[in-house]
């Protein structure tokens, strides 16, 4: 059902393995680090499924308001963290279907969380415009970064875990040093032509809806609500690639759609969810769309990959989960 966009599109790049239908909008979908299970958050619940058998393993219930983001511990597929509009971050043991820790401090909806790769720190971004770094073993707050002037929408880490990259609705991306908590850099698309003379009303920054670090940590992929995705070489403060949606349409102007890098193929790709066109995959260098899957399932808000893109899983606002396998002939 992959729609060929032009003759060079590999419409067999991914093969749909199965579809699961839920009744609520899915805000976050994650594959566990061991690749055996996946988790979704919908409403106030987290559901864990076996990836092979599609069987529901357990439901984690306890959050009192909607869950915005979930993350598996990178070290332990039994541990998952959730952040919610009820102002809490919860740590869950999947085996015991039990909440094992509650972290509270944010004063407004918590929009996004990330583990560092050692699994001992959790970084959370919130609509209260701050980013907080938590030490999980002690439950202590290491620091709070007064990061933005609008809700923080997304955070990501460079693979060496030395830089936290945050994107927010104020249209800025900031890079923070994890070790010292200093702000290292600020990136924005607006140009006030090299001077600081432009008043704020002159400068329109479209909200940043998602940020993702490249596998080598030298580039940042940012999605913003002007409907474009940009690839930044942050050392030079420069956008080096801009990606457009199907037939030049916007990718998403209303929703935060997640992106990932796929490096299991010969030329590296990026994948993003979109508002109206399902999932879209681009070649990084040519910027051409090489794959598009659209079954009118609603906006694809969240997606995840496993093993550099061998598996791709996506979930939509209408509650449709799709699992795709990378076609063997494109693997390297």
């Amino acid at each position: 059902m992959g729609l060929p966009i032009n003759s060079s599109t590999n419409n067999d790049l991914y093969k749909l393995r199965y579809t699961i239908k839920e009744n609520e909008s899915i805000t976050s979908i994650r594959i566990s680090p061991d690749g055996k299970t996946f988790a979704i958050s919908l409403g106030t619940k987290i559901k864990i499924f076996n990836i092979e058998t599609q069987e529901l393993i357990t439901e984690l219930i306890g959050n009192t308001k909607g869950i915005n983001d979930i993350q598996f511990s990178p070290l332990n597929s039994n541990i998952i963290a959730s952040c919610s509009n009820d102002l809490t971050i919860r740590l869950w043991s999947i085996r015991d279907s039990k909440c094992i820790k509650i972290l509270k401090k944010h004063t407004y909806h918590i929009t996004t969380i990330k583990f560092v790769s050692k699994g001992n720190l959790l970084i959370s971004g919130s609509a209260d415009e701050t980013i907080t770094i938590w030490d999980i073993t002690s439950g202590r707050i290491i620091t709070t970064l007064a990061a933005h002037s609008d809700p923080v929408s997304s955070i990501t880490l460079t693979p060496d875990n030395s830089i936290i990259i945050s994107g927010a609705y104020d249209g800025l991306m900031r890079l923070f040093d994890l070790e010292t908590s200093q702000c290292l850099k600020t990136l924005t698309t607006s140009t006030s032509h090299g001077t600081a003379t432009a008043s704020t009303s002159d400068v329109i920054n479209f909200p940043i809806s998602n940020v993702e670090s490249s596998p080598n940590g030298q580039y940042i992929l940012s999605s913003s609500l002007d409907g474009l995705i940009r690839l930044w070489k942050y050392l030079d403060n420069k956008v080096i690639k801009t990606y457009q949606g199907v037939e030049g349409r916007s990718i998403s102007k209303k929703f935060n759609c997640e992106t990932k890098f796929i490096i299991k193929t010969e030329s590296p790709l990026i994948v993003s969810g979109s508002e109206n066109d399902g999932i879209i995959i681009w070649d990084i260098n040519t910027k051409k769309i090489v794959y598009n899957y659209n079954n009118d399932d609603g906006p694809v808000l969240t997606l995840d990959i496993y093993n550099d893109g061998e598996l791709l899983i996506s979930a939509t606002k209408n509650g449709i989960i799709n699992l795709y396998d990378l076609n063997n002939k494109y693997k390297i």
Binding site: S73, L75, N76, I79, L91, S93, I100, K101, V116, S117, K118, G119, N120, L121, I133, D135, I136, T137, S138, G139, R140, I142, T158, D160, N161, S162, I163, L175, D177, L178, E179, T180, Q182, C183, L184, K185, T186, T188, T191, G194, T195, A196, A198, S214, P215, N216, G217, Q218, Y219, K233, L235, N237, V239, I240, K241, I263, P268, I284, N285, K287
Partner: protein, 440 residues
């Protein structure tokens, strides 16, 4: 990656100058950074071990190993190169080898009990099951724990080579050997490739053993009093010897790794004392010493209640270049975290770990992308086209066209960081027990 965005002058600094943090989970008596510099193990006075995360400056706690641990103060800690195993020694007569992958079940994979407290141990650089240890009032030992049920323990001699020969030569020297009974080995270490063992004795002798045969191949009298510590630089070419005669002696070793070039045994260990470090005014003793990553600097903590400092010398010309201050108590164990360029030391009274780290100035231009920091006032000359009104869409189109040319590599990682340390070195990640709550 963070370093490439920090102030390059601060990144290039070779040693920290400011006390920035302290870690105070329990009363620490000995510390050790792992090879990659991302974890710090601290041995406590109650015999347990705390592991800190060095990726944040004020040290999150990874684990507190208090089950199965020692019951008396820890005397030394060694990391394996891969970062997965820890060798700990204690005053409770035990040496324990920990597998940190089993941190949440039964982490001790080997342990061995001696007939008394252990001064210190040194792990073989390439084999986690082999170590040398100096024991209290006993001969030093070489231990091979490869076989779980029958550990090999071999006692090493303390008597220097020359004296041993005399004893064998004639009866009248028996007296001399009696006098030698109180001659003890206080410290022993492997060379960087594990081929030789250096030991220091209570009478100022440095003995060199060949690891393969465990025979003394060379002995040299360094001083007249105890040799308390030995420190080797990480390239293996510099040896610092701390003796209780208040002098640290530095010896330049011959190239033991590429030793084919040297045929003659004697030539190989033909030492000369390169520098002597001492404080002749205050007549201070030194508690501990360590080199930096390339052996260009040597750092030592001072003994006695009057002084609370760390001295840093340059090893090429032997000059004192900096005294690190900030703690208000005597400092004991001192270690250098090479990749992070951080010095850690322990206060003797509080058991607090003090950290000296390089501080980076906050660049204000980092907060606003259209601001530039200037050193001094400049007369700004407006560019010809600076306030021209340019059609944004036209500009964007041009920019998009230019984008086509750039080829992006999102996969290849940098192999070294801004300080030149290997970034691709794999190191073990210690599991986290998410269900405990460590109280800080």
């Amino acid at each position: 990656m963070n370093l490439s965005l920090q102030d390059p002058f601060s990144v290039a600094k070779e040693f920290p100058e400011q006390l920035t943090n302290n870690l105070n989970f329990g009363h620490s008596v000995t510390i050790q950074f792992n090879y990659k510099g991302d974890y710090l193990a601290s041995g406590l006075i109650d015999g347990s071990i705390v592991i800190y995360d060095c990726s944040i400056s004020n040290g999150g706690i990874i684990a507190h190993l208090n089950e199965y641990s020692h019951i008396r103060p820890i005397t030394s800690i060694n990391w394996s190169k891969c970062g997965r195993y820890l060798l700990t020694t204690s005053q409770d007569w035990y040496v324990k080898l920990w597998d940190l992958n089993k941190i949440n079940s039964m982490p001790i994979i080997r342990q061995i009990k001696f007939d008394g407290p252990i001064w210190s141990a040194n792990l073989h650089p390439n084999d986690k099951f082999k170590f040398v240890a100096s024991l209290y009032e006993d001969s030093p030992v070489y231990v091979d724990l490869t076989n779980e049920n029958s550990p090999k323990i071999i006692k090493l001699s303390t008597t220097p080579l020359e004296l041993e020969n005399w004893v064998m030569d004639g009866e009248q020297l028996k007296k001399k050997s009696k006098k030698n009974e109180k001659h003890l080995t206080l410290v022993c270490i492997f060379t960087k490739d594990g081929k030789y063992i250096f030991t220091g004795t209570s009478k100022g002798w440095l003995n060199i053993f060949e690891t393969e045969t465990l025979k003394i191949i060379h002995s040299i009298k360094i001083s007249n009093s105890n040799i308390k510590n030995l420190a080797l630089s990480s390239n293996g070419r510099k040896l610092a010897i701390n003796s209780s005669d208040r002098v640290i002696r530095q010896i330049n070793l011959s190239d033991l790794i590429n030793e084919q070039a040297i045929n003659n045994q004697d030539e190989k260990f033909d030492f000369e004392i390169e520098h002597k470090y001492q404080d002749v005014v205050n007549r201070l003793q030194w508690n501990s010493l360590t080199f930096n990553h390339n052996g260009e600097f040597l750092i030592a903590s001072t003994h006695g209640q009057s002084s609370h400092d760390l001295y840093i010398w340059e090893t090429s010309n032997g000059s004192l270049i900096k005294i690190l201050e900030g703690s208000n108590e005597e400092l004991i164990d001192t270690k250098w975290n090479y990749p992070k360029c951080c010095i850690g030391s322990i206060g003797i009274d509080s058991g607090m770990i003090y950290l000296w780290q390089i501080q980076f100035p906050q660049k204000w231009s980092a907060l606003a992308p259209d601001f530039v920091e200037v050193e001094e006032n400049i007369d700004y000359i407006e560019k010809e086209d600076e306030f021209d009104i340019i059609d944004e869409t036209e500009l964007n189109k041009k920019r998009l066209e230019k984008e086509e040319e750039d080829v992006v590599d999102v996969i290849t990682k940098d192999s070294t960081d801004a300080r030149g340390f290997d970034l691709l070195q794999e190191s073990f990640i210690i599991p986290i027990n998410y269900e405990v709550n460590l109280l800080v």
